[in-house]
Subunit: 306 residues, 2 copies
């Protein structure tokens, strides 16, 4: 089973504080890291975590406010100083080409490994080997994208009693059927996988809202996710300011999590004004009990559903 | 007396480590901060120090390798989010205009306070109210500048016995003479300041080498400085690599400090390879005993000389 985990590298909004760096979330899947946003200081957050930035294969940027991407130039340059040869793919909304071009022309730097910029728009689905990343435009005043990473469907659950009943002996034939391969019994009878497998099961799904006002479409976008990582810049007493600046309150994020029937809600992009983020957690838990305001460097395993 | 101190915000070279952030040195003089270099994460180093980045009036960049300037965009944007109205002056070698222009056009950001870029070349002297900053080109493969900040001359030492001998009564007339104002005694005799003051004394002087190979001209540039902050990326066993990459060893920096007859030598831009920097300190102290390898956040007062 491929391990899937979230590492919160930067959980603060707008500017860094002593406790929280600006936005960056790493998803580690097997030996690969997929990074969502890369605020200033992200390379140093990697140094302080157990992760290696050399394992990053793809970076997804939600939007081009400084606290979400200004760690890119330093990270790109440090990868080079550490002899990266492997290509790096960077995805983001409209403008990613010129942004990456500007970043690669800051000061005296010539990349010696390939860096590819990919523009992403609403409803795009980017297919990788064992998972895909889906995009949805959100409401933040500038072009902004929410993403989810979802693993491909897994074969259905293996019905062991049924297999035995059909005369399949316990052992290697079980695993062939589990992998979707038909087998022939000694008696000449052919057993196809659909005879012993339940319906295919969905892969794990992690949603990253980026910065956005609360939007209805987030409910369908996040439906049944294992983890919804939603911004919650403010508590609900600042609901008006929150809306004005294109943000979501903890309460509003919890409403979305509840309607979307996700497993767990993680609140990030916490405003520097909250020295103690308990107020946000309490507020959200009234509506969606399975809410956490992660600290920087907190790691969360996403287990396979049974 | 105006307080003058150095705060080492980033003492590491090339890329950040857990212990050392990349280059940035703050000089606090009275209520003003003058910043020398601004590597990625400098705004967060401010947060973790006792300093406010809102007090920065001028930033001097030594050269345009990423570890010396990539903290500028985030710092500039955060100043704005914190309602800065005051102008910010940024100095650097050839290319500062286009660099600042690129930085101000990264992502969605429009500065609402004035930012001025000033190009600096070898031997420039930039005059401010109570001090000046002098520039010298150095040897680092790309345009690179060393700076020193030097306070203006102070009046000479007050010769109290001489004043009493001339019949000046102790009290307010003493301080008028100390300020350079002539006085007339009751007997009608005029006492001029030069009669009771020694020769004018030099202000305090702090030198920042930036990245450079060891160069002869640094000796005269740093002459009699209160503090020479010199890069020492490597120890002397890596002298060849050090030279190849345009850097200085701890031993070489100590030779310069000795010849320049400075008061104290501070070694910075320590390579990430040195988990323990004692080797650099030991090596330099063999040649120049008053050497320190400061830690990040270390503060050093520069007292007035008697």
């Amino acid at each position: 089973m491929t391990q899937l985990k979230i590492i919160f590298l930067g959980t603060g909004g707008s500017w860094p504080t002593v406790k929280r760096n600006v936005s960056s979330i790493a998803i580690k899947r097997g030996g690969e890291i997929i990074l969502f946003d890369c605020g200033e200081g992200t390379q140093r957050q990697f140094q302080k975590s157990n992760l290696s930035y050399m394992q990053i294969k793809k970076i997804f940027i939600t939007h081009y406010h400084g606290d979400h991407f200004l760690g890119l130039p330093g990270l790109i340059q440090t990868m080079q100083l550490n002899d990266r040869k492997e290509p790096l793919h960077i995805y983001g909304p409209k403008g990613i080409d010129s942004l990456i071009n500007s970043i690669l022309n800051l000061g005296y730097f010539k990349p010696s490994y390939p860096i590819y910029a990919h523009e992403v728009k609403d409803a795009d689905l980017i297919q990788f080997d064992e998972y895909h990343v889906k995009a949805a435009s959100v409401d933040h005043g500038v072009p902004a994208i929410a993403y989810y990473l979802e693993e491909e469907m897994r074969p259905g659950r293996f019905n062991k009693p049924k297999a035995l009943e059909l005369g399949v002996p316990e052992g290697p034939l079980f695993s062939r059927l589990q992998k979707g391969i038909s087998i022939t019994l000694k008696a000449g009878r052919v057993i196809t996988p659909d005879m012993v497998l339940g319906p295919p099961r969905r892969g794990r799904k992690i949603v990253i809202s980026g910065d956005t006002r609360p939007i209805d479409k987030m409910v369908s976008f996040a439906r049944y996710a294992d983890a919804l990582i939603h911004e919650a810049t403010f508590a609900s007493d600042l609901k008006d300011i929150s809306f004005e600046y294109g943000h979501t309150t903890a309460e509003e994020a919890a409403e979305i999590a509840k309607k979307a029937e996700v497993d767990r809600l993680f609140l990030v992009h916490i405003s520097p004004r909250y020295i103690d983020s308990k107020v946000l957690e309490r507020e959200a838990r009234q509506i969606f009990p399975n809410t956490i305001v992660p600290k920087d460097f907190q790691e969360v395993d996403i287990p396979l559903k049974r």
